[in-house]
Protein backbone atom coordinates (compact mmCIF):
# COMPACT_ATOMS: atom_id res chain seq x y z
CA UNK A 1 0.00 0.00 0.00
CA UNK A 2 1.13 3.55 -0.74
CA UNK A 3 -0.10 6.32 1.58
CA UNK A 4 0.11 9.84 0.22
CA UNK A 5 -0.22 12.63 2.77
CA UNK A 6 -0.42 16.32 1.90
CA UNK A 7 1.88 16.20 -1.11
CA UNK A 8 2.62 19.61 -2.59
CA UNK A 9 4.74 20.59 -5.56
CA UNK A 10 5.30 23.97 -7.20
CA UNK A 11 7.46 25.09 -10.09
CA UNK A 12 8.31 28.72 -9.46
CA UNK A 13 5.08 30.55 -8.62
CA UNK A 14 2.89 27.89 -10.19
CA UNK A 15 1.44 25.32 -7.82
CA UNK A 16 1.03 21.99 -9.61
CA UNK A 17 0.07 19.70 -6.72
CA UNK A 18 -1.67 21.27 -3.76
CA UNK A 19 -1.91 18.94 -0.79
CA UNK A 20 -3.13 15.61 -2.15
CA UNK A 21 -4.04 12.88 0.39
CA UNK A 22 -4.82 9.41 -0.88
CA UNK A 23 -4.26 5.74 -0.05
CA UNK A 24 -3.34 3.52 -3.01
CA UNK A 25 -4.45 0.02 -2.23
CA UNK A 26 -2.95 -3.37 -3.19
CA UNK A 27 -4.65 -5.94 -5.39
CA UNK A 28 -6.75 -3.38 -7.23
CA UNK A 29 -6.28 -0.89 -10.05
CA UNK A 30 -5.91 2.65 -8.70
CA UNK A 31 -6.64 5.10 -11.50
CA UNK A 32 -5.46 8.69 -11.50
CA UNK A 33 -7.52 10.71 -13.92
CA UNK A 34 -7.70 14.37 -14.78
CA UNK A 35 -7.59 16.74 -17.70
CA UNK A 36 -4.31 17.89 -19.26
CA UNK A 37 -2.43 20.15 -16.86
CA UNK A 38 -4.29 18.83 -13.82
CA UNK A 39 -0.99 17.64 -12.32
CA UNK A 40 -1.41 13.89 -12.64
CA UNK A 41 1.92 13.34 -14.39
CA UNK A 42 3.81 15.43 -11.83
CA UNK A 43 1.91 13.62 -9.06
CA UNK A 44 2.90 10.25 -10.49
CA UNK A 45 6.53 11.34 -10.86
CA UNK A 46 6.44 12.41 -7.19
CA UNK A 47 5.07 8.97 -6.28
CA UNK A 48 7.96 7.15 -7.96
CA UNK A 49 10.57 9.63 -6.75
CA UNK A 50 11.49 11.14 -10.11
CA UNK A 51 10.38 14.54 -8.74
CA UNK A 52 10.96 15.59 -5.15
CA UNK A 53 7.78 17.08 -3.60
CA UNK A 54 8.02 20.39 -1.71
CA UNK A 55 5.97 19.03 1.20
CA UNK A 56 4.08 15.94 2.30
CA UNK A 57 4.77 12.26 2.76
CA UNK A 58 4.72 9.31 0.36
CA UNK A 59 4.77 6.17 2.46
CA UNK A 60 5.69 2.82 0.93
CA UNK A 61 4.74 0.33 3.63
CA UNK A 62 5.26 3.07 6.21
CA UNK A 63 8.63 4.31 4.87
CA UNK A 64 8.66 7.88 3.58
CA UNK A 65 10.10 8.04 0.06
CA UNK A 66 10.50 11.83 0.29
CA UNK A 67 12.94 11.69 3.21
CA UNK A 68 14.80 8.57 2.14
CA UNK A 69 18.49 8.58 1.23
CA UNK A 70 19.37 7.88 -2.40
CA UNK A 71 20.44 4.33 -1.47
CA UNK A 72 17.16 3.57 0.36
CA UNK A 73 15.23 5.05 -2.55
CA UNK A 74 17.02 2.64 -4.87
CA UNK A 75 15.89 -0.25 -2.68
CA UNK A 76 12.24 0.88 -2.84
CA UNK A 77 12.50 1.31 -6.59
CA UNK A 78 13.53 -2.30 -6.97
CA UNK A 79 9.97 -3.09 -5.86
CA UNK A 80 8.49 -0.79 -8.49
CA UNK A 81 7.68 -1.65 -12.09
CA UNK A 82 6.61 0.98 -14.55
CA UNK A 83 5.11 1.00 -18.00
CA UNK A 84 5.75 4.31 -19.72
CA UNK A 85 3.50 6.05 -22.20
CA UNK A 86 5.89 5.35 -25.08
CA UNK A 87 6.87 1.98 -23.56
CA UNK A 88 10.49 3.23 -23.12
CA UNK A 89 11.97 0.01 -24.46
CA UNK A 90 15.72 0.03 -25.11
CA UNK A 91 15.73 0.35 -28.87
CA UNK A 92 19.13 -1.31 -29.40
CA UNK A 93 18.06 -4.42 -27.51
CA UNK A 94 15.77 -7.28 -28.54
CA UNK A 95 12.57 -8.06 -26.64
CA UNK A 96 14.42 -10.76 -24.72
CA UNK A 97 17.33 -8.45 -23.84
CA UNK A 98 14.93 -5.73 -22.72
CA UNK A 99 13.18 -8.10 -20.32
CA UNK A 100 16.30 -9.84 -19.06
CA UNK A 101 18.01 -6.50 -18.32
CA UNK A 102 16.53 -6.03 -14.79
CA UNK A 103 17.33 -9.69 -14.02
CA UNK A 104 20.94 -9.23 -15.16
CA UNK A 105 21.25 -6.09 -13.07
CA UNK A 106 19.63 -7.22 -9.83
CA UNK A 107 19.86 -11.01 -9.62
CA UNK A 108 22.58 -13.62 -9.56
CA UNK A 109 20.41 -16.19 -11.25
CA UNK A 110 21.80 -18.65 -13.77
CA UNK A 111 21.25 -17.89 -17.46
CA UNK A 112 18.76 -20.76 -17.69
CA UNK A 113 16.71 -19.48 -14.77
CA UNK A 114 16.67 -15.98 -16.22
CA UNK A 115 15.61 -17.26 -19.64
CA UNK A 116 12.86 -19.35 -18.04
CA UNK A 117 11.57 -16.25 -16.28
CA UNK A 118 11.72 -14.19 -19.50
CA UNK A 119 9.72 -16.84 -21.36
CA UNK A 120 7.28 -17.07 -18.47
CA UNK A 121 6.47 -13.34 -18.48
CA UNK A 122 6.38 -13.23 -22.29
CA UNK A 123 3.90 -16.06 -22.20
CA UNK A 124 1.90 -14.18 -19.56
CA UNK A 125 1.55 -11.14 -21.83
CA UNK A 126 0.74 -13.34 -24.83
CA UNK A 127 3.99 -12.64 -26.67
CA UNK A 128 5.46 -16.10 -26.78
CA UNK A 129 8.08 -16.39 -29.53
CA UNK A 130 8.75 -12.66 -29.86
CA UNK A 131 12.10 -12.98 -28.03
CA UNK A 132 14.42 -12.00 -30.87
CA UNK A 133 12.41 -9.10 -32.27
CA UNK A 134 13.56 -5.51 -31.90
CA UNK A 135 11.18 -2.80 -30.63
CA UNK A 136 11.11 -1.25 -34.12
CA UNK A 137 9.56 -4.48 -35.41
CA UNK A 138 6.69 -4.42 -32.91
CA UNK A 139 3.23 -2.85 -33.08
CA UNK A 140 2.12 -0.31 -30.44
CA UNK A 141 0.16 -2.93 -28.52
CA UNK A 142 3.04 -5.40 -28.58
CA UNK A 143 5.44 -2.73 -27.31
CA UNK A 144 3.08 -2.05 -24.40
CA UNK A 145 2.97 -5.75 -23.62
CA UNK A 146 6.77 -6.01 -23.69
CA UNK A 147 6.84 -2.95 -21.39
CA UNK A 148 4.48 -4.73 -19.00
CA UNK A 149 6.58 -7.91 -19.19
CA UNK A 150 9.72 -5.93 -18.31
CA UNK A 151 7.89 -4.15 -15.50
CA UNK A 152 6.72 -7.37 -13.85
CA UNK A 153 9.78 -9.56 -14.45
CA UNK A 154 11.18 -8.85 -10.96
CA UNK A 155 7.79 -9.47 -9.29
CA UNK A 156 7.23 -5.86 -8.21
CA UNK A 157 4.95 -4.87 -5.36
CA UNK A 158 3.95 -1.68 -7.14
CA UNK A 159 3.12 -1.22 -10.80
CA UNK A 160 2.84 2.25 -12.34
CA UNK A 161 1.24 2.53 -15.74
CA UNK A 162 1.32 5.82 -17.62
CA UNK A 163 -1.35 6.23 -20.30
CA UNK A 164 -1.48 2.53 -21.27
CA UNK A 165 -3.95 3.10 -24.10
CA UNK A 166 -2.42 6.09 -25.85
CA UNK A 167 -2.06 5.43 -29.57
CA UNK A 168 -3.88 2.10 -29.44
CA UNK A 169 -7.10 1.04 -31.12
CA UNK A 170 -10.10 0.35 -28.82
CA UNK A 171 -9.81 -3.41 -29.12
CA UNK A 172 -6.10 -3.48 -28.24
CA UNK A 173 -6.75 -0.96 -25.46
CA UNK A 174 -9.30 -3.35 -24.01
CA UNK A 175 -6.80 -6.20 -24.11
CA UNK A 176 -4.12 -4.11 -22.39
CA UNK A 177 -6.62 -3.03 -19.70
CA UNK A 178 -7.62 -6.63 -19.18
CA UNK A 179 -3.98 -7.69 -18.89
CA UNK A 180 -3.24 -4.98 -16.32
CA UNK A 181 -6.29 -5.99 -14.30
CA UNK A 182 -5.39 -9.70 -14.38
CA UNK A 183 -1.78 -9.09 -13.38
CA UNK A 184 -2.85 -6.80 -10.53
CA UNK A 185 -5.14 -9.43 -9.04
CA UNK A 186 -2.90 -12.41 -9.82
CA UNK A 187 0.21 -10.96 -8.13
CA UNK A 188 -1.63 -8.75 -5.59
CA UNK A 189 0.21 -5.67 -6.90
CA UNK A 190 -0.60 -2.08 -5.99
CA UNK A 191 -1.28 -0.81 -9.50
CA UNK A 192 -1.48 2.88 -10.29
CA UNK A 193 -2.74 3.78 -13.75
CA UNK A 194 -2.66 7.31 -15.13
CA UNK A 195 -5.20 7.58 -17.89
CA UNK A 196 -7.54 9.74 -19.94
CA UNK A 197 -9.34 6.76 -21.39
CA UNK A 198 -12.93 6.48 -20.26
CA UNK A 199 -13.15 2.84 -21.27
CA UNK A 200 -10.32 2.10 -18.83
CA UNK A 201 -12.06 4.11 -16.13
CA UNK A 202 -15.22 2.07 -16.53
CA UNK A 203 -13.52 -1.30 -17.05
CA UNK A 204 -10.69 -1.39 -14.50
CA UNK A 205 -11.39 1.60 -12.23
CA UNK A 206 -11.53 -0.19 -8.87
CA UNK A 207 -10.31 2.98 -7.17
CA UNK A 208 -10.40 6.28 -9.03
CA UNK A 209 -8.78 9.55 -8.01
CA UNK A 210 -9.82 12.59 -10.01
CA UNK A 211 -7.34 15.47 -9.89
CA UNK A 212 -8.44 18.98 -10.73
CA UNK A 213 -5.92 21.83 -10.75
CA UNK A 214 -3.57 19.91 -8.49
CA UNK A 215 -6.17 18.94 -5.91
CA UNK A 216 -8.10 15.74 -5.32
CA UNK A 217 -11.57 16.63 -6.51
CA UNK A 218 -13.21 13.22 -6.26
CA UNK A 219 -12.42 9.67 -5.14
CA UNK A 220 -14.47 6.52 -5.68
CA UNK A 221 -14.85 3.55 -7.99
CA UNK A 222 -16.28 2.86 -11.44
CA UNK A 223 -19.70 2.05 -9.97
CA UNK A 224 -19.89 5.29 -8.02
CA UNK A 225 -18.51 7.56 -10.72
CA UNK A 226 -21.74 7.68 -12.71
CA UNK A 227 -23.60 8.90 -9.62
CA UNK A 228 -21.01 11.55 -8.78
CA UNK A 229 -22.44 14.97 -8.01
CA UNK A 230 -19.12 16.66 -8.82
CA UNK A 231 -19.82 19.05 -11.68
CA UNK A 232 -16.13 19.22 -12.64
CA UNK A 233 -15.84 15.43 -12.76
CA UNK A 234 -19.02 15.09 -14.80
CA UNK A 235 -17.81 17.71 -17.23
CA UNK A 236 -14.48 15.88 -17.57
CA UNK A 237 -15.76 12.30 -17.80
CA UNK A 238 -18.98 12.75 -19.69
CA UNK A 239 -17.68 15.37 -22.06
CA UNK A 240 -19.65 14.35 -25.14
CA UNK A 241 -23.38 13.86 -25.78
CA UNK A 242 -22.66 10.22 -26.57
CA UNK A 243 -20.98 9.65 -23.19
CA UNK A 244 -23.76 11.52 -21.36
CA UNK A 245 -26.29 9.22 -23.02
CA UNK A 246 -24.18 6.21 -22.12
CA UNK A 247 -24.10 7.42 -18.53
CA UNK A 248 -27.89 7.78 -18.52
CA UNK A 249 -28.31 4.30 -19.86
CA UNK A 250 -25.93 2.88 -17.25
CA UNK A 251 -27.88 4.69 -14.56
CA UNK A 252 -31.08 3.25 -15.87
CA UNK A 253 -29.55 -0.20 -15.73
CA UNK A 254 -28.11 0.31 -12.25
CA UNK A 255 -31.22 1.86 -10.68
CA UNK A 256 -33.82 -0.14 -12.61
CA UNK A 257 -35.89 2.98 -13.10
CA UNK A 258 -36.21 2.75 -16.82
CA UNK A 259 -39.74 4.08 -17.14
CA UNK A 260 -39.51 6.74 -14.40
CA UNK A 261 -38.55 9.95 -16.21
CA UNK A 262 -38.86 12.15 -13.12
CA UNK A 263 -36.37 10.04 -11.15
CA UNK A 264 -33.97 10.11 -14.08
CA UNK A 265 -34.20 13.87 -14.23
CA UNK A 266 -33.53 14.07 -10.50
CA UNK A 267 -30.52 11.77 -10.66
CA UNK A 268 -28.83 13.09 -13.73
CA UNK A 269 -30.06 16.63 -13.94
CA UNK A 270 -30.98 15.85 -17.54
CA UNK A 271 -34.02 14.51 -19.28
CA UNK A 272 -34.07 10.77 -19.78
CA UNK A 273 -33.01 9.66 -23.27
CA UNK A 274 -35.87 9.08 -25.64
CA UNK A 275 -36.51 5.36 -25.86
CA UNK A 276 -37.22 4.45 -29.45
CA UNK A 277 -39.59 1.43 -29.72
CA UNK A 278 -38.25 -1.48 -31.78
CA UNK A 279 -39.56 -1.60 -35.37
CA UNK A 280 -42.72 -3.68 -35.76
CA UNK A 281 -42.93 -6.51 -38.29
CA UNK A 282 -45.36 -4.40 -40.36
CA UNK A 283 -42.84 -1.56 -40.63
CA UNK A 284 -40.20 -3.99 -41.84
CA UNK A 285 -42.58 -5.46 -44.46
CA UNK A 286 -43.37 -1.90 -45.76
CA UNK A 287 -39.68 -1.37 -46.34
Amino acid sequence: MIEVKGVKKSFGDKTIINGVDVDLLPGICNLIIGSSGSGKSVFTKCLVGLIQPDAGEILYNGKDLVKMSAEDKKEVRKEIGMLFQGSALFSSMTVEENIIFPLDMFTNWSTKKKMDRVNEVLDRVNLKGANKKYPAELSGGMMKRVGIARAIVLNPKYLFVDEPNSGLDPQTSGLIDQLIKEITVEFNITTIVVTHDMNSVMEIGDHIIYLYQGEKEWEGNNKEIIFSKSKKLNEFIFASEFLRDAKDMRMLEETGKISNDRNMAQLTGRDAPTLVPPPSSEDQQDK
Binding site: V48, L50, A70, K73, K74, E75, V76, R77, K78, I80, G81, M82, F84, Q85, G86, A88, L89, F90, S91, P102, D104, M105, F106, F160
Partner: protein, 245 residues
Protein backbone atom coordinates in the same frame (compact mmCIF):
# COMPACT_ATOMS: atom_id res chain seq x y z
CA UNK B 1 25.09 33.82 -14.19
CA UNK B 2 23.62 31.08 -16.38
CA UNK B 3 27.16 29.83 -17.04
CA UNK B 4 27.76 29.26 -13.31
CA UNK B 5 24.38 27.55 -12.92
CA UNK B 6 25.23 25.19 -15.79
CA UNK B 7 28.73 24.61 -14.41
CA UNK B 8 27.26 23.77 -11.00
CA UNK B 9 24.80 21.34 -12.58
CA UNK B 10 27.66 19.77 -14.55
CA UNK B 11 29.77 19.32 -11.41
CA UNK B 12 26.81 17.79 -9.56
CA UNK B 13 26.37 15.33 -12.42
CA UNK B 14 30.02 14.33 -12.13
CA UNK B 15 29.68 13.97 -8.35
CA UNK B 16 26.54 11.80 -8.70
CA UNK B 17 28.46 9.34 -10.88
CA UNK B 18 30.42 8.13 -7.90
CA UNK B 19 28.23 5.51 -6.28
CA UNK B 20 28.49 1.79 -5.72
CA UNK B 21 27.44 -0.01 -8.91
CA UNK B 22 24.30 -2.13 -8.64
CA UNK B 23 26.10 -4.90 -10.53
CA UNK B 24 29.82 -4.71 -11.36
CA UNK B 25 29.47 -7.15 -14.25
CA UNK B 26 26.86 -5.00 -16.01
CA UNK B 27 28.93 -1.86 -15.51
CA UNK B 28 32.03 -3.62 -16.87
CA UNK B 29 30.02 -4.77 -19.87
CA UNK B 30 28.85 -1.20 -20.51
CA UNK B 31 32.42 0.10 -20.07
CA UNK B 32 33.76 -2.38 -22.62
CA UNK B 33 30.92 -1.55 -24.99
CA UNK B 34 31.81 2.14 -24.77
CA UNK B 35 35.52 1.42 -25.28
CA UNK B 36 34.62 -0.36 -28.52
CA UNK B 37 32.17 2.36 -29.57
CA UNK B 38 34.62 5.20 -28.99
CA UNK B 39 37.83 3.43 -29.98
CA UNK B 40 36.82 1.30 -32.95
CA UNK B 41 34.23 3.82 -34.09
CA UNK B 42 36.81 6.62 -34.39
CA UNK B 43 39.78 4.53 -35.51
CA UNK B 44 39.32 5.05 -39.27
CA UNK B 45 39.10 8.82 -39.15
CA UNK B 46 42.04 9.04 -36.73
CA UNK B 47 44.25 6.97 -39.06
CA UNK B 48 43.39 9.09 -42.11
CA UNK B 49 43.78 12.43 -40.32
CA UNK B 50 47.06 11.43 -38.71
CA UNK B 51 48.76 10.26 -41.91
CA UNK B 52 47.77 13.39 -43.82
CA UNK B 53 48.55 15.77 -40.97
CA UNK B 54 52.10 14.36 -40.78
CA UNK B 55 52.51 14.48 -44.55
CA UNK B 56 51.32 18.08 -44.76
CA UNK B 57 53.61 19.06 -41.87
CA UNK B 58 56.64 17.73 -43.70
CA UNK B 59 55.80 19.44 -46.97
CA UNK B 60 54.97 22.79 -45.35
CA UNK B 61 57.99 22.75 -43.04
CA UNK B 62 60.26 22.04 -46.01
CA UNK B 63 58.62 24.91 -47.88
CA UNK B 64 59.40 27.33 -45.03
CA UNK B 65 62.94 26.11 -44.27
CA UNK B 66 64.62 27.44 -47.39
CA UNK B 67 67.99 28.41 -45.86
CA UNK B 68 70.93 26.24 -46.84
CA UNK B 69 72.41 26.79 -43.35
CA UNK B 70 69.68 24.68 -41.77
CA UNK B 71 70.26 20.93 -42.15
CA UNK B 72 67.45 19.01 -43.85
CA UNK B 73 66.94 16.65 -40.93
CA UNK B 74 65.60 19.66 -38.98
CA UNK B 75 62.40 19.15 -40.96
CA UNK B 76 61.92 15.81 -39.20
CA UNK B 77 62.60 17.43 -35.82
CA UNK B 78 59.98 20.10 -36.45
CA UNK B 79 57.46 17.56 -37.74
CA UNK B 80 58.04 15.30 -34.72
CA UNK B 81 57.59 18.06 -32.15
CA UNK B 82 54.62 19.66 -33.94
CA UNK B 83 52.84 16.34 -34.24
CA UNK B 84 53.53 15.30 -30.63
CA UNK B 85 52.93 18.66 -29.02
CA UNK B 86 49.96 19.92 -30.96
CA UNK B 87 48.61 18.00 -33.92
CA UNK B 88 48.14 14.55 -32.38
CA UNK B 89 46.46 15.62 -29.14
CA UNK B 90 44.63 18.78 -30.19
CA UNK B 91 43.66 18.24 -33.81
CA UNK B 92 42.66 14.62 -33.27
CA UNK B 93 40.66 15.51 -30.15
CA UNK B 94 38.86 18.34 -31.96
CA UNK B 95 37.82 15.84 -34.61
CA UNK B 96 36.88 13.31 -31.92
CA UNK B 97 34.76 15.98 -30.22
CA UNK B 98 32.68 16.00 -33.38
CA UNK B 99 32.65 12.26 -34.00
CA UNK B 100 32.37 10.92 -30.44
CA UNK B 101 30.77 13.96 -28.77
CA UNK B 102 27.79 14.21 -31.09
CA UNK B 103 27.24 10.46 -30.76
CA UNK B 104 27.26 10.58 -26.96
CA UNK B 105 24.97 13.63 -26.81
CA UNK B 106 22.44 12.25 -29.27
CA UNK B 107 22.44 8.79 -27.68
CA UNK B 108 21.76 10.13 -24.19
CA UNK B 109 19.37 12.77 -25.52
CA UNK B 110 17.34 10.15 -27.31
CA UNK B 111 17.27 7.99 -24.19
CA UNK B 112 16.08 10.97 -22.15
CA UNK B 113 13.34 12.01 -24.59
CA UNK B 114 12.04 8.46 -25.03
CA UNK B 115 11.93 8.01 -21.23
CA UNK B 116 14.54 5.22 -21.27
CA UNK B 117 16.58 7.08 -18.63
CA UNK B 118 13.45 7.38 -16.46
CA UNK B 119 12.83 3.65 -16.97
CA UNK B 120 16.34 2.87 -15.69
CA UNK B 121 15.87 5.24 -12.72
CA UNK B 122 12.59 3.52 -11.81
CA UNK B 123 14.39 0.16 -11.86
CA UNK B 124 16.65 1.56 -9.13
CA UNK B 125 19.70 2.20 -11.28
CA UNK B 126 21.87 5.30 -10.81
CA UNK B 127 21.70 6.42 -14.44
CA UNK B 128 24.55 8.90 -14.12
CA UNK B 129 26.78 6.11 -12.85
CA UNK B 130 25.54 3.54 -15.37
CA UNK B 131 25.26 5.70 -18.49
CA UNK B 132 27.70 8.60 -18.04
CA UNK B 133 30.58 7.16 -15.99
CA UNK B 134 31.41 4.28 -18.40
CA UNK B 135 31.51 6.76 -21.29
CA UNK B 136 33.94 9.05 -19.47
CA UNK B 137 36.10 6.17 -18.25
CA UNK B 138 36.15 4.57 -21.68
CA UNK B 139 37.16 7.89 -23.24
CA UNK B 140 39.95 8.28 -20.66
CA UNK B 141 41.27 4.85 -21.60
CA UNK B 142 40.78 4.85 -25.36
CA UNK B 143 41.37 8.46 -26.45
CA UNK B 144 44.96 8.66 -25.12
CA UNK B 145 45.61 5.42 -27.04
CA UNK B 146 44.22 7.03 -30.18
CA UNK B 147 46.41 10.08 -29.57
CA UNK B 148 49.54 7.90 -29.26
CA UNK B 149 48.52 6.11 -32.45
CA UNK B 150 47.92 9.46 -34.14
CA UNK B 151 51.36 10.70 -33.13
CA UNK B 152 53.00 7.55 -34.52
CA UNK B 153 51.03 7.61 -37.74
CA UNK B 154 51.63 11.37 -38.11
CA UNK B 155 55.38 10.80 -38.03
CA UNK B 156 55.08 7.87 -40.44
CA UNK B 157 52.96 10.05 -42.75
CA UNK B 158 55.59 12.77 -42.55
CA UNK B 159 58.39 10.33 -43.38
CA UNK B 160 56.44 8.91 -46.31
CA UNK B 161 55.70 12.37 -47.72
CA UNK B 162 59.31 13.43 -47.23
CA UNK B 163 60.85 10.40 -48.94
CA UNK B 164 58.28 10.00 -51.71
CA UNK B 165 58.52 13.64 -52.78
CA UNK B 166 62.31 13.73 -52.44
CA UNK B 167 62.33 16.46 -49.78
CA UNK B 168 64.66 14.40 -47.62
CA UNK B 169 65.87 10.82 -47.47
CA UNK B 170 64.65 8.22 -45.00
CA UNK B 171 68.01 8.26 -43.20
CA UNK B 172 67.87 12.05 -42.85
CA UNK B 173 64.35 11.86 -41.49
CA UNK B 174 65.29 9.16 -38.95
CA UNK B 175 68.32 11.19 -37.85
CA UNK B 176 66.13 14.25 -37.28
CA UNK B 177 63.56 12.15 -35.47
CA UNK B 178 66.10 11.09 -32.84
CA UNK B 179 67.94 14.40 -32.59
CA UNK B 180 67.23 16.44 -29.48
CA UNK B 181 64.17 14.49 -28.45
CA UNK B 182 62.76 15.66 -25.12
CA UNK B 183 60.61 12.99 -23.38
CA UNK B 184 58.80 15.79 -21.55
CA UNK B 185 57.03 16.54 -24.83
CA UNK B 186 55.53 13.05 -24.81
CA UNK B 187 54.43 13.56 -21.20
CA UNK B 188 52.86 16.89 -22.15
CA UNK B 189 51.09 15.20 -25.04
CA UNK B 190 49.56 12.65 -22.66
CA UNK B 191 48.47 15.32 -20.18
CA UNK B 192 46.65 17.01 -23.04
CA UNK B 193 45.15 13.72 -24.22
CA UNK B 194 43.67 12.88 -20.81
CA UNK B 195 42.35 16.41 -20.32
CA UNK B 196 40.74 16.51 -23.75
CA UNK B 197 39.35 12.98 -23.34
CA UNK B 198 37.53 14.11 -20.22
CA UNK B 199 36.14 17.16 -22.05
CA UNK B 200 35.11 15.15 -25.13
CA UNK B 201 33.11 12.66 -23.05
CA UNK B 202 31.75 14.68 -20.12
CA UNK B 203 30.50 17.79 -21.94
CA UNK B 204 28.36 15.90 -24.49
CA UNK B 205 27.15 13.60 -21.70
CA UNK B 206 25.92 16.64 -19.80
CA UNK B 207 24.15 18.13 -22.82
CA UNK B 208 22.58 14.79 -23.75
CA UNK B 209 21.58 13.78 -20.24
CA UNK B 210 19.70 16.99 -19.50
CA UNK B 211 18.07 17.53 -22.89
CA UNK B 212 14.40 18.52 -22.80
CA UNK B 213 11.95 18.39 -25.67
CA UNK B 214 11.99 16.26 -28.82
CA UNK B 215 14.04 15.38 -31.89
CA UNK B 216 14.83 19.02 -32.68
CA UNK B 217 16.23 19.62 -29.20
CA UNK B 218 18.37 16.49 -29.42
CA UNK B 219 19.95 17.86 -32.61
CA UNK B 220 20.47 21.26 -31.04
CA UNK B 221 22.03 19.85 -27.88
CA UNK B 222 24.29 17.62 -29.98
CA UNK B 223 25.52 20.61 -31.99
CA UNK B 224 25.91 22.70 -28.86
CA UNK B 225 27.87 19.97 -27.12
CA UNK B 226 30.34 19.80 -30.03
CA UNK B 227 30.77 23.59 -30.09
CA UNK B 228 31.27 23.81 -26.33
CA UNK B 229 33.66 20.83 -26.35
CA UNK B 230 35.79 22.38 -29.11
CA UNK B 231 35.97 25.74 -27.33
CA UNK B 232 36.79 23.99 -24.05
CA UNK B 233 39.53 21.97 -25.76
CA UNK B 234 41.12 25.08 -27.26
CA UNK B 235 40.88 26.92 -23.93
CA UNK B 236 42.40 23.97 -22.07
CA UNK B 237 45.08 23.68 -24.77
CA UNK B 238 46.21 27.23 -24.15
CA UNK B 239 45.97 26.86 -20.38
CA UNK B 240 48.09 23.69 -20.37
CA UNK B 241 50.66 25.23 -22.71
CA UNK B 242 50.91 28.31 -20.51
CA UNK B 243 51.21 26.25 -17.34
CA UNK B 244 53.35 23.31 -18.39
CA UNK B 245 55.70 24.59 -21.10
Amino acid sequence: MKFFAELGKFLLMIKSMFSKPENWKMYWREFMHQCAEIGIGALGIVVIISLFMGAVSTVQTAYQLTSALIPRYTIAQVVRDTVILEFAPTLVCIVLAGVVGSKIASELGNMRVSEQIDALEIMGINTKAYLVAPKILAALVVIPMLVVLAAGLGIIGGRLAGTLTGILSGEEFDKGLLAGFDPYNAFFCMVKAYTFAFIISSVPSYFGYYVQGGALEIGRSSTRSVVVSCVAILFADYLLAALLL
